[in-house]
């Protein structure tokens, strides 16, 4: 284990702003990328609509070398990303899209031609989301376009012209040789920029920020600073700063820890490093069970999934975090590490009570182990919210059920939004296991739920609705597992073609 020393630390944040190299020192590490753009660079194309990552007006594109000499691009919300997280990346904003001679980029041109802007305030954000789609080769499918644009709110157009622009721009090739060469050159420059550069350590009067590059370094830093705020995607922590006006000191960022960014798959499990974003975990988890894929598709927005991590979703202990109920239903475990000591904890035991988790200061979530369902185990998850996309869940039900010879051999029912933590409905499970999977058992399971949960009323849903839906989700599970021809889904791949 290496203790970082002043020799292998550096104070300057290095990144490319478009094609221009930046090396920033003496910057408040809590400054958001959006404030940096608007106040320091005086680039005002990127807008602030909400300062909490929900409207997308501040969408920018981050580029990083993908390790194969190419560039990988993703959209993020600049309003909740801190400037030091730009280290080693390319930051692209709406100002970078026009050609050298001043002509509009194809995605910009498409937006003009389809009348895709009215008031224009959300437009730069949409343009950047469209640009990211263009960089990745374009999309024609409405579902894919919806997913790419779910994090960009428009109050004027009703989206039709923007969808049309996405289709139009998607048809224009992004991949010519000159463009590929340009991207490869950027990848090389970025790699060189931070190669052998040491750990980024910003020590500013307003607060400190460390970005270790290995998990050993991270473990050591956390032992040294047990009260540090661990920052991953910043999709929650960012709001502590922009909305609660908190000062965080120090911040330890795990997004640059290379060995926490891997997804590995064995015959029996998928292991997700704590630094893996939802976007990167999506495919592997979708292969574990299609409903987890669908669930992750509906977490936040593309921008949020490009930043937020599965590990962070667990570590922050939200009572309505979307992945924990699903992962608990599958029997997931997490690996907690302090210094060089690791321990495995079943995920369900990690959540102790509201705001309290089984994690001691200095300890961090290193990885999540998601077992693949045993043969015959059926997994279903249902996220219920006011809006399908980019909404925080009112009730989430995740179920793993195995039926053998007409009887329930195994059953896990886990809910989010029903208690202070994601929680198994053990009485409900007990009412089902070993019974015939029939309407009588379903009724018993529903009655048991009323016994074990006392949900609360808030702006997302009343306690009565939460309970009624929690019970009805058992009905939905029953129908889907016993009468699969009946249409039960409004969205997602399993949505009935009705």
């Amino acid at each position: 284990m290496t203790q970082p020393t002043s020799q292998n630390m550096r104070p300057d944040i290095r990144f490319l702003f478009g094609d221009e190299e930046r090396s920033l020192s003496g910057i408040d590490p809590q400054m958001t990328v959006l404030d940096y753009l608007r106040l320091e660079e005086r680039k005002t194309g990127t807008k602030e609509g909400c300062a909490e990552g929900d409207c997308g007006a501040c969408t920018v594109v981050l580029g990083e070398p993908d390790g194969d000499g190419k560039m990988a691009y993703r959209t993020v919300n600049a309003c909740i990303q801190f400037v030091p997280t730009l280290d080693g990346k390319q930051l692209l904003t709406v100002e970078h899209l026009k050609s050298k001679v001043g002509s509009l980029h194809p995605v910009q041109q498409a937006m003009v031609e389809t009348h895709g802007s009215q008031c224009g305030f959300c437009t730069p954000g949409f343009v950047m989301s469209l640009y990211q789609m263009w960089l990745d080769g374009g999309e024609d499918d409405r579902g894919a376009i919806n997913d790419a644009l779910a994090g960009n709110l428009c109050r004027c157009t009703g989206y039709g012209p923007i969808i049309e622009a996405a289709r139009k721009a998607g048809g224009i090739a992004a991949g010519d040789a000159a463009e590929q060469k340009r991207r490869a050159d950027i990848a090389t420059r970025l790699t060189d920029l931070v190669k052998d550069a040491g750990t980024l350590a910003v020590e500013h009067a307003a607060g400190r920020y460390y970005a270790p590059r290995t998990s050993d370094e991270l473990a050591a830093l956390l032992v040294a600073h047990p009260d540090a705020t661990v920052l991953a995607g910043g999709t929650d922590v960012g709001l502590w700063v922009t909305k609660m006006l908190k000062r965080l000191d120090p911040i330890i960022y795990i997004g640059d820890v290379a060995d926490l960014k891997s997804v590995s798959e064995t015959d029996t499990a998928v292991v997700i490093g704590a630094g893996v974003t939802y976007s990167r975990a999506h495919d592997a988890l979708g292969r574990v069970a299609s409903d987890i894929g669908e669930l992750i598709r509906r977490i936040g927005s593309r921008q949020i999934r490009n930043a937020g991590t599965v590990g962070g979703n667990i570590a922050n202990g939200s009572p309505i975090g979307d992945t924990p109920p699903a992962l608990i239903a599958l029997g997931a475990k997490i690996v907690l590490r302090m210094g060089n000591v690791r321990r495995e904890v079943p995920l369900e035991d990690y959540f102790i009570s509201y705001g309290k988790q089984d994690r001691t200061p200095g300890e961090f979530v290193e990885s999540v182990i998601v077992p693949k369902p045993a043969k015959g185990l059926v997994f279903k998850a249902y996220k219920i919210s006011k809006r399908f996309d980019q909404d925080i869940t009112a009730v989430l039900g995740a179920f793993a059920i195995q039926i053998a010879d007409g009887k329930v051999a195994a059953f896990r029912a886990v809910y989010g939004g029903m208690a202070g933590t994601p929680m198994r409905a053990k009485k409900c499970e007990a009412a089902v296991i070993g019974k015939e999977w029939d309407e009588a058992t379903l009724g018993a399971a529903q009655r048991a739920l009323a016994d074990e949960f006392e949900p609360m009323t808030d702006m997302r849903a009343s306690k009565e609705y939460r309970m009624l839906v929690a019970q009805n989700l058992l009905t939905k599970l029953f129908i889907e597992t016993s009468a699969p021809d009946i249409a039960t889904r409004l969205v997602g791949k399993e949505a009935a073609l009705v």
Binding site: R38, R42, K43, T44, G45, K47, G49, C50, E52, D54, C55, A57, T93, V94, L104, Q108, M111, V112, H115, G116, S117, Q118, C119, G120, F121, C122, T123, P124, V127, N146, D147, A150, L153, R155, C156, T157, G158, Y159, P161, I162, K243, L245, Y382, K386, R387, D389, M459, R460, S462, Y465, L468, N472, T475, K476, I479, T488, L490, V491, A496, V498
Partner: protein
């Protein structure tokens, strides 16, 4: 050529003028489009800040109603970067920003807090972050007073911001007594946050003599000017307000900009430094008004065909703590009680309830949507009661052309196109066939249910406060023939500026790119009305045309005299002026010659809407110049286990008269529809029991997202559309009317819910139809069916 003759020349123009780029009827692109997409369009927060600009942040109350007993701001004052802290004592003039000078909206309250989140003081600091941090450091104590947090509470205590109002035709009570069928019920209608993407913002720049230049994101620069002059204790000519564009308005920047503008102006005058006030999103949602939530109680009588014969309806609007525009908004709800239907004997009562909540304000439709969503629910309930298709009951109740054509406010509907529009949408939507297909689907699908509904829109165009129906414009033509265009309307994305520019291009017969569109500025065109009531293009288009015609007529006189031809022989054709058989000059050449001949090339224009008059006391007259019409057919799918729902197909035919710009109009229709759909489905405002709004950010307040836009969305501008009134090129206003096309979504959801009870039990669906509201309605219908079935069984048993 007389004005009227000139008018008639293009009155019937259907196709764009050949050879002219960007005249009327062309789908010209939004003038700011290329700037929007490049991030180059300048909003107020993008203006390069003048040296030394201060930044403001509000400090707010955390009770709904009470006296301030102690306000210790010493920690705020000593916080890093703080330059000054304002309380009500620092208002130099009148401490009021109420739009109608009702003196009930203080810039900062003087001792009494009236809603949770009300700003009670304000900090100016070197940076915005410093101001926001400092604002958290106040120590304030209160003596709490009883707070009315609901309409029912206000009704019970008779708390009103304006007197109740009644509108009557015939004798509703006796008509109801005689009616064969009667139904009475209550409907609750939710409010709506504007969620303009650009929040409230003002930048005040101090000028000499203590004057102020305000860059303000507002739909009503003149009102901001007058309010700020009052607040500063200065005449109106000491304040100039400018706005190039807003990042969305929707009514939310009609009156709501003044408070922040006033505070910025006070700081600018007090410190001599520029001052910017940009509200954080959460503060904006907590501190600024929204669409009014309503409670509607009705008692309707009808015959076997479902024809209405008597309606008694009472509206209670939640106005919040002050009057704002609530009286006019509540009036417009009354004006739209009929929507498309002849109501005969009707009595409409309206209460304007005062509550300890943020003061509600204008929002696209301005009360009209609340009136219309209620009558559409009533029609569906009648249809279920008499067992007819709801569309047939709608048609049975439509206004007639020769009889059954007077509104509850005694205006004759002269431009009724409801029948023709209905014929057209029946065809384009294939309604009857789909109705049958949906019934078949529902009988086979136990969990997911479909619903279908066609609803009409008839929306009155004009400010119902008649004197507001006036507009001004200013046009300069420079020596090179380039044109500077200015008018009193504001651009909030709706495409007003491009439409007015097209009108001017058409008048001068010059290409659109010769016209410079400029920022609205109270120093150029004074005493303007708000860009509101869908009136922007109607009024400013006419005023700009008037200005252009003044200059054009001068040019005609000049050319006729100079070349010795009759005035009638001077013709403006694309890019050119033909002077009889004497000359053919480019526009620029004519201008140059006119300048040298000392002809004025600058003119103001003015327009006042004709024909309108209204006697409010007797609720009688012609408040509207004309009506805008539309039809929508929506199909939805609901999940009866969760209440989740999805709009699967929408067909719209909307009457924009003869469109000035079909592309802009389509944008207004689709955008308005989706915004209305949000109001009626996902957008729920939720206050806790302390009166604190808990849905104050996009994380908790859900406007439609991209995937909510129906996959199958078919929209047509009505091919037969033409305005019988002499509006600007016979177009019709389009800003607000399409919002109410979305009522078809709410009614289709109710239809899907009713299918659970075989359309025998009326679902009591309020708005918004959230998954929770839908699931409860489904559960109620199912329960009622069980009860009915139980009763039948026991009756059979006897």
């Amino acid at each position: 050529m007389s004005d009227q003759a000139a008018y008639n020349q293009t009155d019937d123009l259907i196709e764009p003028t050949a050879g002219l780029s960007g005249g009327v009827r062309t789908p010209s692109k939004h003038d700011s489009g290329p700037k929007h997409v490049a991030g180059e369009a300048v909003y107020i927060d993008d203006i390069i800040e003048p040296f030394g600009t201060l930044h403001l942040a509000p400090g707010s109350a955390n009770i709904a109603h009470g006296k301030i007993t102690k306000m210790d701001l010493s920690k705020v004052r000593s916080a890093p970067g703080v330059v000054c802290v304002l309380t009500s004592d620092d208002v130099p003039g009148v401490n009021d920003v109420s739009p109608a000078h009702t003196h009930d909206e203080p810039v900062l309250p003087d001792g009494v807090v009236q809603f949770y989140g009300q700003p009670v003081f304000c900090v100016a600091a070197e940076t915005r972050a410093q101001a926001r941090h400092a604002a958290k450091l106040a120590e304030i104590e209160y003596e709490e007073l009883p707070a009315a947090l609901s309409v029912d509470e206000a009704l019970e205590k008779q708390l009103f911001v304006a007197p109740p109002h009644v509108m009557k035709q015939g004798d509703a009570a006796s008509a109801l007594a005689k009616a064969k069928h009667r139904r009475s019920a209550r409907m609750e209608i939710g409010g709506q946050d504007h969620f303009y993407l650009e929040g409230q913002i003002s930048l005040a720049v101090p000028q000499e003599d203590g004057d102020v230049l305000l860059h303000c994101s507002t739909q009503h620069p003149s009102e901001v000017q007058h309010n700020i002059a009052n607040v500063l204790g200065r005449p109106a000519n000491a304040v100039t307000v400018e706005v190039r564009r807003m990042g969305g308005g929707f009514g939310g920047k009609e009156t709501q900009a003044s408070q922040w503008a006033a505070l910025a102006a006070i700081v600018a005058v007090k410190t001599g430094r520029p001052a910017k006030f940009r509200l954080d999103r959460d503060d904006d949602m907590v501190m600024t008004g929204k669409r009014h939530d309503f409670i509607v109680d009705y008692d309707v009588g009808f015959d076997d065909d479902g024809r209405i014969c008597g309606l008694d309806i009472q509206y209670a609007a939640n106005c919040g703590f002050s009057a704002d525009l609530s009286a006019a908004i509540a009036d417009r709800a009354m004006f739209h009680t009929d929507n498309a239907y002849y109501l005969g004997d009707v009595e409409i009562r309206s209460y304007r309830c005062k509550t300890n909540l943020v003061s509600n304000t204008a929002f696209r439709g301005f009360g009209g949507p609340q009136g219309m969503v209620a009558i559409e629910r009533i029609i569906d309930e009648i249809a279920m009661t008499v067992g007819r298709d709801p569309l047939d009951v709608r048609m049975a109740n439509y206004y007639g052309t020769d009889d059954r054509n007077t509104t509850p406010y005694h205006m004759v509907v002269e431009d009724n196109v409801l029948g023709e529009l209905t014929d057209d949408i029946l065809k384009s939507s294939d309604y009857r066939t789909r109705r049958a297909a949906i019934e078949a689907f529902n009988s086979e699908s136990p969990v997911l249910k479909k619903g279908l509904s066609i609803t009409p829109v008839k929306f009155g165009i004009s400010f119902t406060t008649s004197f507001l129906n006036q507009a001004g414009a200013l046009i300069h033509v420079y020596q090179d023939g380039s044109v500077h265009l200015n008018h009193g309307g504001t651009e909030m994305g709706q495409g007003l500026f491009i439409k007015v520019a097209q009108v001017v291009a058409e008048e001068f017969q010059i290409d659109l790119d010769q016209i410079k569109i400029t920022a609205t500025n109270t120093g150029k065109v004074p005493n303007t009305s708000a860009t509101a009531a869908s009136s922007g293009a109607d009024m400013n288009g006419m005023a700009a045309r008037d200005a252009a015609m003044t200059i054009k007529n001068r040019l005609i006189s000049f050319a006729a005299e100079k070349y010795g031809v009759a005035e009638a022989a001077v013709r403006f054709v694309p890019g050119k002026v033909i002077v009889g058989d004497q000359a053919e000059l480019s526009f620029a050449e004519v201008i140059k010659q006119a300048y040298l001949a000392r002809v004025s090339l600058s003119a103001t224009g003015y327009y006042a809407t004709p024909k309108i008059h209204y006697d409010r006391e007797n609720a009688s007259g012609r408040p509207f110049y004309y009506f805008a019409y539309g039809m929508a057919c929506s199909e939805v799918l609901i999940d009866t286990l969760t209440g989740e729902n999805k709009v699967t197909r929408v067909d719209i035919i909307h009457d924009v008269g003869r469109s000035l710009n079909p592309a802009i109009d389509r944008g207004q229709i689709e955008g308005g529809f989706i915004q209305g759909m949000g109001w009626l489905t996902t957008e729920e405002l939720w206050w806790d029991d302390k009166g604190s709004l808990r849905t104050h950010a996009p994380s908790t307040y859900k406007i439609p997202a991209c995937s909510d836009r129906p996959e199958d969305f078919r929209m047509e501008l009505w091919a037969s559309g033409r305005n019988v009134e002499k509006t600007i090129h016979r177009s019709k206003a389009v800003g607000e009317p399409p919002l109410m096309l979305s009522i078809s979504v709410h009614r289709a959801i109710a239809d899907a819910i009713a299918s659970v009870g075989d359309h025998k039990v009326i679902p009591a669906l309020n708005t918004p139809a959230t998954p929770e509201a839908i699931l409860y309605a489904v559960a109620d219908v199912a329960k009622q069916m069980m009860t009915d079935a139980g009763q039948k069984m026991s009756a059979a048993g006897e």
